[in-house]
């Protein structure tokens, strides 16, 4: 039985991803994702109950440096690509009403 992603599910995922999608895009994605995820079900053929997950292939852990301040980017450079700014702030729509 094929994986079927419902319209509600795909809308929920789009919201989680903060992606504004048209109804056409949502429908197309629901079909495409269903087909792709169907292919993924092959993974269930493998017994992985005793297998640890690999998140990272290298043995490094918690690579730290001393907590000593270093120069960082000047504010003007940080703001140089800003779509909207005011003095030393990025300007955005109000978050709270």
């Amino acid at each position: 039985m094929a994986v079927a992603i419902s319209h509600d599910e795909i809308e929920h995922v789009a919201l989680l991803a903060r992606l504004g999608l048209s109804d056409d895009e949502l429908e197309k994605l629901a079909n495409e994702l269903s087909a792709i995820l169907d292919h993924m079900r092959a993974l269930n053929q493998l017994d992985t109950s005793a297998i640890p997950p690999t998140a990272q292939v290298i043995p490094l852990r918690n690579v730290m440096r001393p907590d000593a301040p270093r120069p960082s980017l000047p504010v003007e450079e940080v703001l140089a690509n800003a779509p909207d700014h005011d003095a030393s702030y990025f300007r955005v729509p109000p978050v709270l009403d």
């Binding site: 991803a17 504004g20 087909a35 995820l37 940080v78 690509n81």
Partner: protein
Amino acid sequence: MELYELTIQQALEAMRLGETSSAELTRSSLDRIDALDAKVGAFLVVAGERAQAEARQADERRRRGETAPLLGIPIALKDIFCTRGIQTTCASRILEGFVPPYDATLVSRLTAAGAVMIGKTNMDEFAMGSSTENSAYQLTHNPWDLDRVPGGSSGGSAAAVAAGFAAGAFGTDTGGSIRQPAALCGVVGMKPTYGRVSRYGMIAFASSLDQAGPFARTVADCALLLETVAGPDPNDSTSLPDPVPAYSANLECDLRGLRVGVPDEYFAAGMEPGVEQAVRRAIDVLSELGAEIKPVTMPHTEYALAAYYLIAPAEASANLSRYDGVKYGLRASNANTMELYTRTRGQGFGAEVKRRIMLGTYALSAGYYDAYYVKAQKVRTLIKSDFDRAFESFDVLVAPTSPTVAFPLGARTDDPLAMYLSDVCTLPPSLAGLPALSLPCGLSDGLPVGLQIVGPALGEQIVLQVAAAYERAGGWNARVAPLT
């Protein structure tokens, strides 16, 4: 021989002997780009004036007696590397006009080595793709047949080297995005061990998989490019602390007694007969050079595609959440914060990027996380253990890089899964974090075929040695694509 046909090693020698200059080499590259890139579309940005200024500086440094590993050599960079003062877009509209305020570590190491930056090359948007057709800006055409794809996602860099626009280039490889375009464009391309090259300033797609690597027309050139940029970086806490060997100084290798494994599963159905023939012939050459060739079973190979296309999109969904219209890049018109995000991202991302963000978000969401994402990570462990076991009995593994030669533009754009299948041979070494190189091993119907050589972790030297030995005997001779 035209200047643009010189390899990096030949160009360095010619400059050392005073037979040419960086200014002349750079001019030769720029002229060829002017003449032919309208047909190929390798470059998003050609940094003509800046490159010529850098070339003059390189010549001046050389006159003063300075030496540096790449002094005066024109290099092209995939538009995924942050270049201070030069637009960097990842071939996406969401970063149109973005000018990074800093250089990627890879870029600053190339600058310190005296390289001349010729321009930024085209790619699949955010490195997601196998044909460079997902670029939001332009198509790149394979220099061997302009109606065909160069491969992806580093198609622009591969095409630039194949076309003789630059003797060297850099790209990135997450699931095959250096090796597969190298194979399709008839050049040498290498993905190092995960962690060998710093990812600082390299725009992130999938952080546990992404690696930068070189393109060139010879193995020796690739070795030189790699050793110039490799090594630990305090700005990348996933960069390995191990010192970098002088790869380019140690390419001589007697293959007698070398244990070469040929994984059965990589010659699966769907492989073009011409590709299989060329690869088998190359393996015969290795045998004639004295290597001991044996088949090896890597039973989890067929699951690599599914594991990768859950892990990589999941990581990408996290990495691409930063594109929100707040601090840089596109900002769509909006009435509130939610619209700021949804409209910016809806407008700024292309279809494949949206597809992967959605897939990744779904795989990570509550209720599905264990079934998809964690499952895929466990399969990743199994795939890695196939390689660990293989490297107990073998020094290197060889396989095809791509099951097919370059396919026509538009042939796979309607079927995402068909496009994903381009990567079946390159995905497993990516998941295992192992070094892997592709080099040309012949033509099939006039189109290049790539041989893939995979080594154990930090096994770049042996991979390069085997590649160099094959290259000497194989007869490809660093050719530039017959583009006119």
